[in-house]
């Protein structure tokens, strides 16, 4: 069955550095991949979508890469700020007639001032 892996350990970085989060998957070929941010006590908020034929997507300080050979997506936040501290979820987009993405467990990012 398909499996999504996000680092369960929190990522601690210093303000101003680049944070890099990883999403690996197996037994799947997603049509796209999404990244969401989730703050405590709140629902996830959509950040970026990258399609299978795209290598890289950028939005302000965010950058997502998608390597279908490695079955991996990297999510980067440049010039990180304490306000970026949250849990980041990746979601694999299905093929065919299903409209239901499959979410990973998320990785917690803590940016220290």
């Amino acid at each position: 069955s398909q499996k999504i892996e996000q680092n369960s350990e929190a990522l601690n970085i210093q303000e101003g550095k680049t944070a890099t989060l990883t999403c690996n998957y197996t037994n799947y070929s997603p049509a796209y991949l999404q990244w969401y941010r989730q703050d405590p006590g709140r629902g996830p908020v959509f950040l970026l979508l990258i399609r299978e034929n795209e290598k890289e997507k950028r939005k302000e300080r965010l950058k997502v890469t998608f390597d279908t050979t490695l079955k991996q997506s990297l999510f980067h936040i440049t010039a990180s700020q304490p306000a970026d501290s949250a849990t980041y979820l990746c979601a694999l987009g299905p093929r065919g007639g299903s409209y239901i993405p499959t979410f990973g467990r998320g990785t917690s990012l803590i940016v220290h001032p």
């Binding site: 796209y32 629902g43 996830p44």
Partner: protein, 115 residues
């Protein structure tokens, strides 16, 4: 602007009782999704609505769980004879058309605790 709202925000119930969770999607969004999130777990898909129909209810864990959507808007998730393992945060999301590539807008969730 109004986002997705859910009520109640917290629900504490006793084992064996029935509960109803409500979701108000963004106006005009035809697709609506219910998920469950347990501590340290990913979002577990429960059911998907397109309009008032549920073409995918494959994630409902047992026949104690049911959901309906009326008027293409409000949805209610009902859990009958609640069990302690039902304790989780129940999240609702909506999207404009429900097709692939559409971002989902999530509500704040309902935290359900079954004693």
């Amino acid at each position: 602007g109004a986002g997705v709202s859910q009520s109640p925000s917290n629900k504490v119930t006793e084992k064996g009782k029935d509960v109803e969770l409500r979701c108000d999607p963004i106006s005009g969004h035809t697709a609506l999704y219910w998920y469950r999130q347990s501590l340290g777990q990913g979002l577990e898909f429960l059911i998907y609505f397109q309009g008032n129909s549920a073409p995918d209810k494959s994630g409902l864990p047992s026949d104690r769980f049911s959901a309906e959507r009326t008027g293409g808007s409000v949805s209610t998730l009902t859990i009958q004879r609640t069990q302690q393992e039902d304790s989780a945060v129940y999240l609702c999301a909506s999207s404009s058309t429900g097709g692939s590539y559409n971002e989902q807008f999530f509500g704040p969730g309902t935290r359900l605790t079954v004693l």
